[in-house]
Subunit: 350 residues, 4 copies
Amino acid sequence: MLVVMKAQATPEQIRAVCEYIEHLGFRAHPLPGAQRTAIGITGNKGEVDRGNLEELSGVAEVIRVSKPYKLASRDVKEEDTVVRFAGTDAAIGGRNLAIVAGPCSIESREQAFAIAEQVAAAGAQFFRGGAYKPRTSPYAFQGLGIEALRIMAEIRDRFGMRIVTEAIDSESLELVAEWADVIQIGARNMQNFSLLKKAGRLRKPVLLKRGLSATLEEFLMSAEYVMSEGNYEVILCERGVRTFADHARNTLDLSIIPAVQRLSHLPILVDPSHGTGRRDSVLPMARAAVAAGADGIIVEVHHQPEKALSDGPQSIHPAQFASMLNELEQIAPVVGRTLPRGIHVNAVVG
Amino acid sequence: MLVVMKAQATPEQIRAVCEYIEHLGFRAHPLPGAQRTAIGITGNKGEVDRGNLEELSGVAEVIRVSKPYKLASRDVKEEDTVVRFAGTDAAIGGRNLAIVAGPCSIESREQAFAIAEQVAAAGAQFFRGGAYKPRTSPYAFQGLGIEALRIMAEIRDRFGMRIVTEAIDSESLELVAEWADVIQIGARNMQNFSLLKKAGRLRKPVLLKRGLSATLEEFLMSAEYVMSEGNYEVILCERGVRTFADHARNTLDLSIIPAVQRLSHLPILVDPSHGTGRRDSVLPMARAAVAAGADGIIVEVHHQPEKALSDGPQSIHPAQFASMLNELEQIAPVVGRTLPRGIHVNAVVG
Amino acid sequence: MLVVMKAQATPEQIRAVCEYIEHLGFRAHPLPGAQRTAIGITGNKGEVDRGNLEELSGVAEVIRVSKPYKLASRDVKEEDTVVRFAGTDAAIGGRNLAIVAGPCSIESREQAFAIAEQVAAAGAQFFRGGAYKPRTSPYAFQGLGIEALRIMAEIRDRFGMRIVTEAIDSESLELVAEWADVIQIGARNMQNFSLLKKAGRLRKPVLLKRGLSATLEEFLMSAEYVMSEGNYEVILCERGVRTFADHARNTLDLSIIPAVQRLSHLPILVDPSHGTGRRDSVLPMARAAVAAGADGIIVEVHHQPEKALSDGPQSIHPAQFASMLNELEQIAPVVGRTLPRGIHVNAVVG
Amino acid sequence: MLVVMKAQATPEQIRAVCEYIEHLGFRAHPLPGAQRTAIGITGNKGEVDRGNLEELSGVAEVIRVSKPYKLASRDVKEEDTVVRFAGTDAAIGGRNLAIVAGPCSIESREQAFAIAEQVAAAGAQFFRGGAYKPRTSPYAFQGLGIEALRIMAEIRDRFGMRIVTEAIDSESLELVAEWADVIQIGARNMQNFSLLKKAGRLRKPVLLKRGLSATLEEFLMSAEYVMSEGNYEVILCERGVRTFADHARNTLDLSIIPAVQRLSHLPILVDPSHGTGRRDSVLPMARAAVAAGADGIIVEVHHQPEKALSDGPQSIHPAQFASMLNELEQIAPVVGRTLPRGIHVNAVVG
């Protein structure tokens, strides 16, 4: 259910409607738009009686939302969501393409800094690196944990790039939220609803990767889980789905980009590294993703991929990363975008 | 790596080999077989030097295991794993077919008892019921939680049936382990490795459902996660995979049964309710599962499916459940099985 | 559109309605049932005006059929279709399970007779063997063609078994229709609509295999192509679909059996050989297919599978075939079936 | 098997090697390259003895080809295949992007000319239109047949565009080869091996669409079927594969583009119309295809899509087509391509 306020509704009227909704035992989610504010109603208690709501002052109309997702829906919020990072000009969503780059795993301080220096020099605004790794085998390298988070915090201080890293459970979620700028939820946890709810109670942006066999509706419902707890800064990420095709590790489903943009206001990135699993396919698919309208790219870069502890075969070299940015820069204007180079950090905020 | 002990190796020799392995920083998993004991070696530290191991007394040979799973592999343990329940004659694996039945969700004490009475009367040895529900929508019924666990504990006391219920995170895992007899890990959490490891540290059997797009190797690797922490009582469960086919909710992949039995010693159940999503397909697929060699069936039964808070359309009526058991009883001998009716609880143990 | 005649309608009335339909430029398909006759209307000319039809004498009602398939639908013909073979007691559909067995390819007279003798002795009523092989590679063995058809005709004369073999184009279709008893259309040709139409103009039963990624509706629409030309003897065959799963050559989708039986009156066989691609999975899946309600099994048998020119790894030995029949015989009564052993050929007809 | 000739081998030497191969009962396929000629050997007779071949004069080496496809492999022919059209500057493959546009079906002379005029004006070099339609339903519009072929021949005369249209069986294949410039083989016939072989005996380029569940190897093997009969002008076309995803009609698998270019020398087009099934996704996916490196686009355009007899919802308007070309023109240089506008027909040849 969605309460649409009149364009001239006052902040007091909006607050009063929210309080009334909460009083009924539901949750109210005010969603300010350019023209008018809408208030999403969520809760586990059955239906609200719309009659009383329509009579409150400042209310324009009450809409029964048919899609199972509400807060993630463009019906509820027409304007694109842009996730901004305080104290910087970095953003995900909007006119600028976001570029997230770094190694699959943080393996050592030396490795991380070597890669960070090169991707920062090429123009990345976001640095990614795994601290907690969800590996298929219990005997595989599981990440450096807190040590990796500390290394990435140093990288942020030194190069200004904002940090994106994955949380895999309650414990790592708290630490990631403390040390990083964006909390990544991986494909295998896309329907770990307990983790999604906990991430929804934090106030850090969440990068949510599509599950290997998730439909678009399930994907948006998982975003809804985060949003229903009050965290509206969700960034979607297509990373390939599982099909019969064997010429790539996964089948990158770029047609989800226009579909997401039709149904939702959330930004969507593409991961051509996991999406293909092959270094020689990363650049073509990164170009394709931007041409299809993605809000940015998240890509694995390693200065010595042959020595990487994980995902070496799909990591590109720093020189390829620089070429990739040059190519994306040329495609960007065709889809009404620009590719910013490097990050501008304001002096005051941390 | 797997150390195979000589048939005549003494318990002291076995213990000495285990201590040596642990001394090197690895974990040793003694796996007693009918003829001889094998010791699995797991760990995150690279390769063991096999030379020294082969020289220890009582060692027959040291085998490098090529499959990424070790403890779950039939190479390591030739005999079928049978999960037994202390104080009862109930078992999963082995000659007897295991029948697990009950509602999708525990909705109330009345509902749970009404169903429990009927499935117990028909001959079920295990009762299933959801206390914590991983729902696609944050706005859907999420389960009664601890209250449901208490109701199911009462059902165990009253009818003798052992209790199977799902854990979805650390919090519910502890409670489920405390109150129930089998911890279910759902399809959406099959690669929630953090949860798998925690379940591996408990000493309750784990029913692990196959993920919607999991390969057999990934499925066995998830079992391996549980086993690598020392909990060897893992029960696999096929519940349908995601394909393009739209005549059923999922495509039940019964050909995984002979494949699992070739590669692993773990028992495998089939869930024809989630596997089809349609009441009229549950009986045919339950029969097919047993005919294909499954170790048992887990099925949703509801006395008023049209009023169920979840999964009504795939829940069968108690009368259908009774018919199903009659049919399975006739098929069982063709695959060298029998269908026990009801549970026999020994007076002494709880 | 479907015209349902009154129970007491005369043959003349039925004929008059058909003539009227044809006069309008459509095709009329009289479908006699146990109680009353229905007349299916098909054609490429838009909608029939139902008003005039309802006024014809003997007409009970005119039904607009919503499913895109009509003649294949159970709405049009409530009774199960049973395909009978003149001069014998062999049938596909109905109470008796149909067993079709033989080598993937006819490789020589000796090979074919050696296998035929053993499957006939075990009780097969139908012999299968490839004369024209649709091979993925142009360099692979493509079948003996007409020579194979002649060998199979000899086998029919000698052992009484009816012959099932595949047609792959117009040329082979004519020959197969001339020499064999059932025309098989393979999975790769399931949507070769031109071939389906030509098969529809013949008066030999058609065994239609499901395409590797065909939905149930597409499968029934392909049956409809054959039926729309006047050949109503279509036998469906599930042979596995293509999924991400890699533990079997294909994923055998047995849940299509109850779905077909709900929506269509056509019989459905299962091919556990192509459905699994592994000898050790053929028996479990054959048992499962019968338990799920299939009308029969089509299975590859070879006396020397290690020397087979095609599909050796999935061909079972004659002794396994005999065991399989013993197992199926025991499961059959659970699903209201019997397994006839061997074929009874009447003296008079050929 | 592949015979690589020395760089300085004479035409006589090449001819002598071919004759020797044919004398052994195999087929020889001379494949002239920029530097040297290779000769592919195909046939259904087992292995050639390589020893004798290596002793023939002019032979550099004899290579056993491991991939099941030979003629389609880049191992055999390193240079990209470019399909040219006599008397024009039109080409598929090479530096120029090929644009094929037109309606799904030719519905009437007026409709076809209205669309042709607009796509020609925008700059299309190839006109597509269905004369023989492989429709899922036997009751759907099946195409105008020969009448449509005549209309398209008129369009070629009037606008210069080369004609691409589908053949569905032997009869239509002969007519299409007679009237059109490119023979399309549709996705449903990708493994209609009999049709592929017949197309291989013609001397018109073949546009081969990927089957809905075809692996890359199967796709190249189907190209091989055409090439093994002597027709080397095969153009591949990605048109989406079947997956569980339901936000688009099919899942367009663009990652096959770099994979095809690694393994084969054949050009590859992309069909974003069938690949998505939605008008609003056609432009994004057309841009993505070119950015990923496709050799061109085949797209459905209709001046009145709401009245189209087939595929209306995925047909774009002529104005969208013109916008699309503007966008592709800007992306082309990033991948080393140019977008020619319109066709230049030489006076002399027809």
